[in-house]
Symmetry: D2
Subunit: 452 residues, 4 copies
């Protein structure tokens, strides 16, 4: 699961001649309000942004929150990226932590050590940026505009982020975690009947198997054996947060060609037995780290089961983006690429045994699906012959299987024991290579959905 590569451009507006954005704002209907609360045009729009932020946090301008928030974004969006990032680096320092209040709360805690004093300590350390974010959300389209603002923040290299920037990001992440709770998200089918403005996003955001244009898109969403589902927030009805593409098939596929080729066999949905999740893409860079994605596939599984009760197998056809790099480390960068059989065994070993931070699977796609409670079901060589597929995984792809009755156990085993759930077919790949040093993994699970 990768992430949309570039920020969406706003193609809809022919560009206006550039004028000083703050002048424009002061001359607009909001000018009176801004002057009323003491915001004056300055050389540097960054300073005016700080003035408005200050007004939003102080008494001045409290009663006019939405209008002021709107003025803020109008100015912010007319400012260039560098100046925007400079503003973001400063905003948290506008109202720094109140040491006196903190020290007082610490004294209370040291005395009482109870829930009430923990609470007081928590309140004393709360960042004023939280209130600013809540105020900014009152602007028209406030939520997507804040997402874009965080995208600006995240574009600052991690090493260059000040403590203030980090604190602001934490508050944004906290607000977004509350706002994008999966309970607020709507799961919607994306189809050829969807608005063109929405489908255009799909073309742009698709991060796994590129969509070449409208005809290619149509092949992904219109045929009866193809589906696409996305999570949507009520404030962003035509702009998905994340989406997944699904193929209904007669059997578990072993290559991506079978799914996305222009000419292919179609299947009557009533005769399909598998639903294959072959591409999942995040859409909003500014929502990085917000964990709604974990719910998407499970919700789609529930939906499909209801509509097509005869579907028995729900699985992915997934890339293995870290495999080639890992293999180069294991075998040396110049080693020749092994043959298909050996490649499959090595990929299985990589996915089951290679661990990274927090004893999590090293491969990012594996981390996502296994972390959702899926199991590794099958490993295929020569499955993705595209340049990218060759480069990152020597053409290997895999299936992760979602069995709703097992995800809890699989998740527990992974998190508590570090054990990756896998099928007998995968287990067999290990046994083949055992002599060659493969560490034997735990017990295989379930009925295989593919012949070993």
């Amino acid at each position: 699961m990768n992430t949309a590569r570039t920020r969406k451009q706003n193609d809809s507006q022919p560009s206006a001649r550039r004028r000083n954005p703050l002048d424009l704002l002061m001359n607009s209907g909001l000018g009176k309000l801004l002057r009323g609360i003491g915001v004056a045009p300055r050389q540097d729009s960054g300073e005016s942004l700080l003035d408005i932020a200050d007004a939003l946090l102080s008494l001045r301008g409290r009663a006019s929150g939405p209008a002021l928030a709107s003025a803020f974004f109008d100015l912010y969006e007319a400012t260039d990226l560098k100046a925007r990032q400079d503003f973001l680096a400063k905003v948290h320092d506008l109202h720094p932590a109140d040491s006196t209040a903190i020290d007082k709360a610490i004294a209370l805690w040291n005395e009482k050590q109870d829930e009430a004093s923990a609470l007081a300590l928590n309140e004393a350390t709360e960042s004023p940026c939280r209130r600013l974010i809540n105020q900014l959300n009152l602007a028209p389209q406030g939520t997507p505009r804040l997402i874009n603002l965080r995208e600006d923040l995240l574009a600052v290299p991690r090493s260059a982020r000040s403590a203030g920037l980090a604190a602001l990001d934490r508050e944004l992440e906290g607000a977004f975690t509350a706002w994008f709770n999966a309970g607020f998200l709507e799961l919607r089918r994306i189809a050829w009947d969807s608005p063109a403005s929405l489908l255009e996003h799909i073309i742009r955001y698709e991060a796994v198997h590129e969509i070449a244009g409208w005809d290619d898109l149509r092949r992904r969403v219109q045929p009866a054996d193809r589906r696409c589902y996305g999570f949507f927030h009520p404030q962003m009805r035509n702009d998905p947060l994340i989406f997944v593409e699904v193929a209904l098939t007669a059997q578990l596929p072993g290559t991506i060609r079978e799914i996305i080729a222009e000419e292919r066999e179609s299947v009557d949905p009533l005769e399909a037995s598998c639903a294959i999740f072959y591409s999942i893409s995040n859409c909003q860079v500014g929502l990085k780290g917000i964990p709604f994605g974990n719910h998407l596939i499970k919700r789609v599984v529930g939906l499909l089961k209801e509509e097509l009760p005869h579907l028995g197998t729900f699985a992915t056809l997934s890339p293995v983006p870290g495999f080639a790099r890992w293999l180069a480390k294991e075998q040396g960068a110049d080693a020749r690429v092994p043959g298909p059989g050996e490649l499959r065994a090595l990929a299985a070993r990589y996915l089951v045994n290679a661990k990274g931070q927090g004893n999590q699977p090293l491969d990012p796609v594996a981390r996502f699906h296994l972390g959702n409670g899926a199991r590794l079901e099958a490993v295929h060589a020569n499955a993705d012959l595209s340049p990218n597929g060759q480069k990152q995984a020597h053409g290997v792809m895999v299936n992760y299987l979602y069995d709703l009755d097992e995800i809890e156990t699989n998740y527990f085993a992974l998190t508590e024991l570090g054990t990756v759930a896998h099928s007998k077919a995968v287990q067999a790949l290990f046994e083949e290579t055992e002599g060659k040093g493969g560490k034997k993994p735990g017990k295989a699970k379930g009925q295989d959905t593919v012949p070993a």
Copy 2:
């Protein structure tokens, strides 16, 4: 602005014979999941609720959040109020503050005193209930169910609330403040074309001037010179959070009869000059203290201005619920009720001068409107002759005027200087009674909308 009096009943379901709710749950489709994570039927459903909450907070059950949250509410809602409140009192103590982590963060803060260590301290003192609330929101209809849960909590008398209950309430309030940010709320007109299930809520929630039934309701929402608007959350499309009733009139009204009488003169909306907000009611007890109400009237003013640009005056016709009590204190409980002229002057004095906590206006309705930036425009005797109107304010009602160009100044004067904005007509009431000890208030404002 009062609050709906009783929790809405679920009238839609013929009552099922009572069986043990936990047995029902264990025998349902969720039973397998519950047994899988170690929840077993217990004597006391409160303990099982604690088990599920524990599962939601620990690793067990992480992958099945929505299903588990659904099971939680099914059980919670089948449990009686006393047991529900007992559970709520215990849930925070399930995962108490981590003293070690807090002490460690304090040590860091004492050493560094910087933003990063303030942040770390804030994180260390965060309640695990926050995560629980986010998990519970994943259930179908999770948001309104959590609102009902907080209603249970608030039904515990403040004096009887444990520290754990207070901490849980603070987390609920924090979550609701984020979720019910006015940027997420939809302002919608409520009319005779609205769903009956929604209108039924209006009848039940109306807290100011009771609605006697469907015919009375129709008189409030159907005529061309009557409007009703509410704020709605996307998760609760047919259940308003707050609503306001509006009458379009030719002039500022001085009695409630003119507005709600069965037989009355109607006005062509295109000839009306005033929009009168004559009733505003909160609907959700469980959203007490969440501040979206302040935005409602201003948003409605904006909407009406766009639709009917000739409207010039936006004002309320409001009760003065604390007046009689204050007067009894001032003049003795047995003093005879003054005549109309004196009553008006006394009411003006009460509203302008009487202050309570935080130097805010003592009267709760005044606190709301003045705190929104409105000004006190006119005071009327014999304006509400209903038993309630006589009892709480000897029949006095007032107009608060919303002038969007002045709300910022009014708000600032009130908050910073403690000065209540008022019209010349109100000022004149003071001058009449000055000899009798009326403290002279600040300067009157603006053009009067009513003859003095």
Copy 3:
């Protein structure tokens, strides 16, 4: 199936002071248009209506059809019933049949006797009112306004209708037959979530078992085992054409009490086996004779089968409105009412054997359901003890069964052979009374759904 009793009033508008409607119209924006095409205020609004109708049919005003049609209805609706009916009686004579053209077409037909000359003859005899109706439909809300216009026409006693009025009615009926083709009607569920303005119509239109108010209405549409469906035209989204009330039950009911009592046993829809159509009401007097009603029950059966596949029996619980009158004729007006057993047998005889015009069943409700292809399934005494039920049928009610596999055969038998389809249980009622002179009907059909 009866028909709504009174024309719906427009309750939404407080009455304006009466002024001459034509003056109002000439002074409105349409005045210029009307003067432009030569319509001048006259004493008698009926003459002005004729002028506008004339303009719509001639060249004058062709390009402004919708505006002119709007002016027509504004004036028409402000005119009193008597004057409206006078206008309707004259409008057809405005452009009478063109004898010359007809005679010419007859000459052609006499010469050729072919399809083309039949066509020419049809065209020559076409009424100009057809074009007028099409023009009037261009007005905003043109379709419901034309329905109301036909209601005015139908309020003229049949004996008092002129040839022109009859011709106009035939054109209206022809237009409505085309426009209300069931292919254009939307079958929609009516529930407690439906607009109050729609539900209000249901209360008013219910013609079989009166709805006592909003609480009674709620009992018919909100419980899980109660349904209501209506046919809607796209131009009349909140005003049904016809609706049917359905009860889901465990077995075929024999009394109306079981269905509509305030206190009753409720059934889990997933455990119900029968869908009982217990009330069907036409809503629009002006659509009399337009045959969309026949499709309603069959479409609802299809819908329910899809949603609740375990439903096995689809039947009505119907009144027998003509029974008491028929019985009085048979036995003399003073004969005592027979006991339950004999009553059931006599009612069966009435329904199966008594025929009216065109050899159709004499009873109007029987005519409707049997004409839809249903069969007479059971006859119940003491089934409707309301005054009306006693008066029209001595308390007898019956079930008509809709078996989609049999409706074609039943319909054919009824239409071609005059045979009423009925169950073995009904057949048994005949055999009991055979000795007493009951004419033996044809063979009984199917498996009985009730014990004989």
Copy 4:
């Protein structure tokens, strides 16, 4: 205004292997019904179509109309064009005119010569195809399927149409005229937010200035100064009947380049003064001759006036498709093309003076707009340099102006007097060429919107 060139393909369904369509049908759920009414598989599906049509018109199958109509279309659509047309040619003869009934009605007419007998004669000559069409409309998607059926009929060359085919077409035209009455059509904006499946139709149907693909389409519907509106029927929500493309401009444009060029100056809609209708396309071949198109531009004018009240000029930028052909006739096919000035004068002469059938303007686009009450406002040379523009009109384009206050007068003058309304600028073109034989037209009208 041309017409969509090709019937839309159904791209959504991967093609199934060909099997005998009647076999498929008899084996489907409808098979039982078909056998029940005596339809048996035949060699020739045309004969089976006749059987079903016969069933729909006779008693057999009356009760199952919708199912039978559905079966009809399933079979019809699986049959090839030639066989479909053969069926259409025969269906009217299935139930020919009833000579006896006609002769009887003639006798009555001859005797009475009154309205009632004209009516009876009209009824006697009514084609049974009318009832068949009403029955077929009951099928799912019956209306668009009937439109496609008429498209098949119209594809038979006029000279090859039998009397039966002509009679069927007349009935279809009559039904469609009633069904597509503009009062039933919804005017909807088509924008970049519209469903892709709808926008795809726009690309395909555009008949005036070809749309090169999705990017070109986006340029027509997304920018703030571009609009597109269509008429939709409730049964065909994503398939427009006719649509018009509009450009908001600062002044009356004289070339198509200004409008559709990829790079162009954009206009702020709030500063635009003209709305230019630069392309209008019919979408449904099968709706040929149904006159809803006349209402489209006027309705859009009304809509735009409400949204953008400062718009003052509503005009087209239109092709002159018949000009080159007319000129070749006038001047000889080999004459050299005149210079721009002379071309403009000649085009004005062509449009104002050249008349065809019924004394209507000869040019088809002129006939449409002038017949709507527009006036000829300006004539431009070198306005459309595309091959098609050069070929049909030597690059000439014109503006027709829609002034709602004048359309009635213009229409009357055209229809009654044969006079084409035109501006002073056009008048001046005549005067320049008068010496050269230009027939002087009537008086010019109004204020010119362009400098002469």
